[in-house]
Symmetry: C2
């Protein structure tokens, strides 16, 4: 049951994902206006603006809260600009949520947009030999897909997964994404397509790895009181049950981006819950819900193999059984607990600061029954989970 502390999602809006190279602000304004229209509000109503930053678009990207506020028209509202890599949108959500629950605002907009360069993400410029992100690029030449591949290789070695298991994730997600008007890639792929897909970082092929995309998403959240005054009722509203931003606990014994080594557990024992398990655990605890309560989930499929990890981190199946789960059809549309009914990153590509916000948009549409063509039947509880490099885990749970 939702409580007074469970804020309401009043409006959501997105700009379709794609690759145009235009000013990220332009995408953001489309998403902001769509969210306002969805909520039946005007810009002046917004009391707090939480921007999720982009680090590849100059100074305006570093101060996203300010940039969007000025572009929409300065109103004197308080703002925040947050960065947490792929979890930036979730950190923005928590920023807005905390401001509201602390009594500094009744209603807030969370917004993120990105324009991405072509190809793999390159290192940030400069020589910083103590910077783990510098080290992994300059000492190892390890782009993001190299880390994804190490993780996939681990699944093969430890659990006996096969490249076909990974491909099944793309097959499932690409099928779901065909019906999503916001997805960038709306083409269904089959296992047969994989043989012709070039190896990027063995064992992963191009079709296993998500692209980098342009896109934008915005969410308007408010107190239950504000929503009730506006809507007349809380009946049928989408509520925020958890936003858990979680960092690792020392020693971190699984390799995570961008580190080139794990911590030693020779002296201090590893924590009972690994990092990604703890991300889900904290969200479940906050919401008072468990994996058995989920109608659907949006998980961060930066690679196909990573989606299988998330199944296990979320408790949708025991460790090592992710491949069986995807093969069973349980996580496909129509299955027991559809995962990435939006099409996932496989269909979107990644627009970093917008992605975690887009997950919330998708879940909101699912819970409202508005996800035409990719609707999860009778969705009541949805979860979004993702991870940004440098130890940024985030998990959001919504219910109606």
């Amino acid at each position: 049951m939702a409580t007074e502390r469970d804020l309401v999602v009043l409006g959501v809006g997105m700009h379709p994902w794609g690759k145009w190279g235009r000013n990220f602000v332009e995408y953001g304004l489309v998403a902001a206006k769509a969210a306002l229209a969805d909520a039946g509000m005007v810009w002046r109503d917004i009391q707090f603006v939480a921007g999720a930053d982009t680090i590849r678009n100059g100074y305006p990207g570093f101060v996203a809260g300010s940039t969007f506020s000025q572009a929409m028209g300065w109103t004197g509202a308080q703002i925040s600009s947050s960065y947490a890599a792929c979890a930036s949108g979730a950190q923005g959500m928590q920023s807005a949520r905390a401001q509201i629950l602390a009594g500094f605002a009744d209603v807030a907009m969370v917004i993120g947009a990105d324009t991405t360069p072509k190809g793999f993400f390159a290192p940030v410029g400069g020589e910083r030999k103590e910077d783990p992100d510098w080290q992994r690029f300059h000492l190892l030449g390890a782009t993001n897909p190299a880390f994804f591949a190490l993780n996939a290789r681990r699944r093969i070695d430890v659990f006996g997964d096969t490249p076909d298991d990974f491909a099944m994730v793309k097959v499932k997600n690409s099928k779901a994404g065909v019906a999503n008007p916001y997805a960038r890639f709306r083409k269904e792929f089959t296992l047969d397509d994989f043989a012709g897909s070039p190896i990027v970082s063995d064992p992963l092929r191009l079709l296993d790895i998500c692209a980098t995309s342009d896109g934008a998403a915005a969410v308007i959240i408010c107190t239950p009181e504000y929503a009730k005054a506006k809507l007349g009722t809380l009946e049928g509203t989408v509520r925020i049950r958890a936003v858990a931003n979680t960092t690792p606990t020392y020693p971190q014994v699984r390799l995570e981006l961008p580190d080139i080594a794990t911590d030693s557990n020779a002296v201090v024992a590893a924590p009972a819950l690994g990092f990604k398990d703890s991300v889900a655990h904290n969200a479940y605890e906050q919401a008072g819900l468990g994996p058995e309560d989920l109608s659907c989930a949006e998980v961060y499929d930066l690679s196909t193999a990573l989606e299988l990890d998330w199944y296990e981190n979320l408790g949708l199946c025991p460790e090592g059984e992710g491949a069986s789960l995807v093969r069973s059809g349980a996580t496909a549309l129509g299955g027991r607990v559809p995962v990435n009914a939006s099409g996932g990153l496989a269909s979107f590509g990644e627009a970093i600061p917008a992605q975690a916000i887009a997950q919330v948009c998708e879940l909101t549409w699912q819970l409202r029954g508005q996800a035409d063509g990719h609707q999860v039947e009778d969705a009541k509880v949805g979860l979004a989970i993702n991870q940004g490099l440098f130890g940024h885990g985030s998990c959001t749970i919504l219910s109606k």
Copy 2:
């Protein structure tokens, strides 16, 4: 009177300001450990870490909350990483404050550190012709001091200020900074020194403009309950009465960094309170205090002339009388309301994400009576105000 919502400053710590070009993380750890020692706490006690970002130190700078958390040792704590230019530290303060007041943590650390390149801040790389920061550098060649000079010129034209009035600010601040062990420049300057100081951007000379510095500051804040349990009493503790982060209201008719034009007020009238006046106003309102209550203030003297603006924005004197106020000695140590008893940016130079946090450290020491050699007598209420480009106003009020 402080209320239950007025959080307690439990510990403060700084790394001295200077110019060494070392890894910013190194400075931050010194500040973090100093704040922990000051609070009588260990790192594991910290439940939330609010990092203020630096944008010139690669990826670790973009995720300051994460970077410092990993360097101190991952504990699983929630984190945030905020950027708001010169107001980043204040946005970090508000992030931590909101998390605590929303009930997500009892005690949090706010931390910022910077390593700065030599000379003026250069534009962020890339071609973005719609980016106001790109425009001001590439179309006008306007570095920060050019904006400071435009503002100083305005004071000369509108209020009849003289370059000597501006120099008086440096004379006052440099004298105060001599006794501050954290200040970078601990040399007293006189009006006579100005004649030999090169013009940087007319009418401002090198001595009128603050340097860019390395430095770090950390503050630990908590609920009154937590402080009482730890200290046995709230007697004598420093309380946070306001953290007001304020953006402009359209139309903004005073030129502010980095815009190259003001908004038109031909159709929509300018707001009753200008931007910087509104920053102070919102903080006073939050605290239930006014300018007459201040024992001392730390204001952002990016240039000497800007300090005179702040006097007027804060209501320490009527508009246009800032020069008379500094000449009267009212804002010097021993005066009615000492301003920048720390020595200000004139003595520190600017370490962007650390600066607003350092202001809170200074005020805390003043209110505790620990500002040896630059102590404001019987300080009871202190205010810190600053402004970051892209519309980031911030004002913090502390009392004991």
